[in-house]
């Protein structure tokens, strides 16, 4: 099996699905890149190079450069989806949902329910989130809690190349609107990824490690950090279970509850400010449905209730780290 990057895994999923199904189209700002310019059109392939090579292969009708008009991008993708296409719209940074959220949560996500089950909106919104790139307060957020709370939407947070490919293929084949939240901190992460297409189902957590002393639940870019913490703890003989739910909506509640039933201790790691976070969401799930198994206060490792700071030392301090996760686990013991 080839070792490829998370970036490449996403690219491969898009490529294979576009080949398989002519109704899959990409649209977004510079997903091709260079439209209207005097040079090489399609040379860019997204600001992070994720869609590179697809414009040359599939052309301007299937890899559509758009103006900087996110409401029109997402809205048009929703409109194309509900009339039979399978658009993959790129929202360059998830930080930009503020200019197009209506089309996501009041339109695409609600069509089916509002219309009594008669609409089908196979829309994927690819976007990227997360801090650590020194990109400042408006380009470093994750915002998955805002997305997770929206009924009608599915939300995916892949934490490694293998999952990125399989979950994206699943997302494209899914008949509901899906937000596929890539982690910009993970684009260069490498891992083994099968060449052929495969699907990873939604709502099925990945158990990365088994251990009876405590359960760590982590999402997206926090998963590798949780694993680091698990390694450190293992050196002291503390064995933890590490769960990556992979999709935040649907959430594999059973996996989490079952694990806490065994370990009695829970730490949730969430790269977002604490209020109404996914950390709170999972903590509340356990406090309401696995309370009797709980032996210690639930631990939550989140960012502080502040915007993301620019200065590297502040940004590092802002994020959940392996150290903080380790300390939180120790506190539950």
């Amino acid at each position: 099996m080839a070792r490829i990057s998370y970036r490449k895994a996403v690219n491969q999923a898009l490529d294979q699905e576009m080949t398989r199904d002519a109704s899959v189209i990409l649209m977004g700002i510079d997903v091709g890149g260079g439209s209207g310019g005097s040079g090489d059109v399609g040379s860019v392939g997204g600001v992070m190079g994720v869609t590179k090579g697809l414009y040359p292969k599939y052309g301007p009708n299937r890899v559509i450069d758009t103006p900087i008009s996110e409401s029109a991008i997402i809205g048009a993708a929703a409109g194309a989806a509900v009339t039979g296409m399978r658009p993959v719209a790129e929202l360059m940074f998830v930080d930009f949902i503020g200019v197009c959220l209506d089309q996501i949560y009041n339109q695409a996500a609600k069509f089916r329910y509002m219309f009594g089950g008669k609409a089908r909106t196979p829309l994927v919104i690819r976007t990227m989130g997360g801090a650590g790139m020194r990109a400042g307060a408006q380009h470093s957020q994750n915002l998955h809690p805002i997305l997770t709370m929206i009924p009608g939407l599915k939300v995916v947070m892949p934490s490694n190349p293998y999952d990125a490919k399989g979950l994206l293929i699943r997302a494209i084949r899914d008949d509901d609107p899906v937000v596929f939240l890539e982690s910009k901190a993970l684009y260069d992460m490498k891992g083994e990824v099968p060449e052929e297409a495969y699907e990873i189902p939604f709502g099925e957590a990945n158990f990365l490690r088994d251990g009876g002393d405590a359960t760590i639940v982590a999402f997206g870019a926090m998963v590798p950090r949780a694993m680091q913490a698990a390694d450190r703890l293992a050196k002291d003989g503390i064995r933890v279970t590490v769960i990556d739910p992979r999709t935040t909506s649907p959430l594999d509640e059973e996996a989490i509850l079952d694990s806490v039933d065994e370990t009695g201790r829970l730490v949730v790691v969430d790269e977002s400010p604490p209020r109404c976070s996914l950390a709170a969401d999972v903590a509340a799930l356990v406090a309401s449905q696995a309370f009797d198994a709980l032996k210690a206060p639930v631990g939550m490792v989140t960012c502080p209730h502040t915007p993301v700071p620019f200065a590297p030392n502040l940004e590092d301090a802002y994020m959940p780290s392996a150290e903080k996760i380790e300390a939180a686990v120790r506190k539950t013991l």
Partner: protein, 321 residues
């Protein structure tokens, strides 16, 4: 272009169906059988019908909070509409949508929309589907004068131009967005000129005149079907009632209100076709009678219909979850 007698009858049937439906909505609302708000289309019938007259079920429209007229003009059944608006089982959307969210995919009706400016981006996407599939179908986005100031609408215009999609922006300028006059809220001297500056042809027509709207729409359709990109139509309309049923409209002078009614598109249609001896009064009256009866029956049936089953509360959020 001369319309046949059958076509004229079809146009009148559609316009009058809207009239009778909305008058019934007004009454039912006063009687308390319609929950929530109701924004009726009275006075704007010629606009919706003129625009939709040459569209098929495969052409798509995106609508607004004032969407009943668009639904009827696009062929939705009034029986299902009454059920929906009253929140009953069997409504077009199972009673889950209501007045501001009626949609009928089979009729190419992509939904009323309670978000001002919600539909234009969606319609761009519907038009994109047609372009990519190489059909000669089109998409229409209805918006009001108020909606013309929403960023989503303005973005959609530019996007439609650059993607060259077969789409028509219809701005029904009835002079008001809620209680604020377009005179005040639209900085530009003209809505259609502002649209034209986005790089597409635009026309402004008398929205009270079915024939004017229909003729302009034919030009628009010819343009977009020829692959020349989008088109804008501004139809100047009169809103008979207030923003919603029950609005006392103190912000409009009595003279203006009287003037709005004087411009009645139904009466103008009648006058035109009877003066030109295209249809007889008796034919028109017969259409009216049939529609009145159907509306009565549909409303009564809806009032008597059961509420949706409680189990449906949590269904159809997703295809699978």
């Amino acid at each position: 272009m001369q319309l046949s007698r059958d076509e004229l009858k079809r146009a009148y049937t559609s316009m009058y169906a809207i009239r009778a439906f909305e008058e019934r909505v007004e009454k039912e609302f006063a009687d308390g059988t319609i929950p929530g708000f109701a924004h009726v289309y009275l006075g704007q019938e010629a606009s919706g019908v003129g625009v939709c007259f040459d569209l098929t079920d495969e052409d798509q429209i995106g609508s607004t909070h004032r969407g009943h007229g668009h639904c009827i003009a696009k062929g939705c059944e009034i029986e299902g509409m009454f059920l929906e608006i009253m929140g009953r089982d069997g409504g077009i959307c199972g009673g889950k949508g209501g007045s501001m969210h009626i949609a009928d995919m089979d009729k190419g009706m992509l939904g009323a929309n309670a978000i001002v400016g919600g539909s234009p981006p969606i319609a761009v996407g519907a038009a994109l589907t047609q372009k990519l599939r190489g059909t000669d179908r089109v998409a229409v986005a209805f918006s009001g004068d108020g909606a013309s100031n929403q960023g989503t609408t303005l973005e959609a215009m530019n996007m439609a131009v650059i993607l060259k999609v077969p789409m028509i922006f219809v701005f029904e300028n009835n002079g008001y967005g809620e209680f604020t006059a377009s005179e005040y809220s639209v900085g530009a001297p003209s809505l259609s000129d502002r649209a034209a500056a986005f790089g597409m042809p635009a026309q402004c027509v008398d929205g009270g005149d079915f024939f004017a709207v229909h003729a302009a729409m034919r030009e628009a359709l010819a343009h977009v079907r020829a692959g020349k990109g989008p088109y804008t139509l501004e139809t100047r309309c009169s809103r008979f009632l207030g923003h919603f049923v029950g609005d006392p409209q103190k912000y409009r002078s009595p003279e203006e209100l009287a003037q709005a009614r004087a411009n009645d598109p139904i009466q103008r249609f009648r006058d035109k076709v009877t003066t030109a001896a295209l249809l007889d009064i008796s034919e028109l009256d017969e259409i009216e009678q049939q529609i009145r009866a159907r509306v009565e029956a549909a409303a009564a049936a809806a009032r008597a219909a059961p509420m949706p089953a409680l189990e449906t509360l949590e269904t159809d959020v997703y295809v699978t979850y």
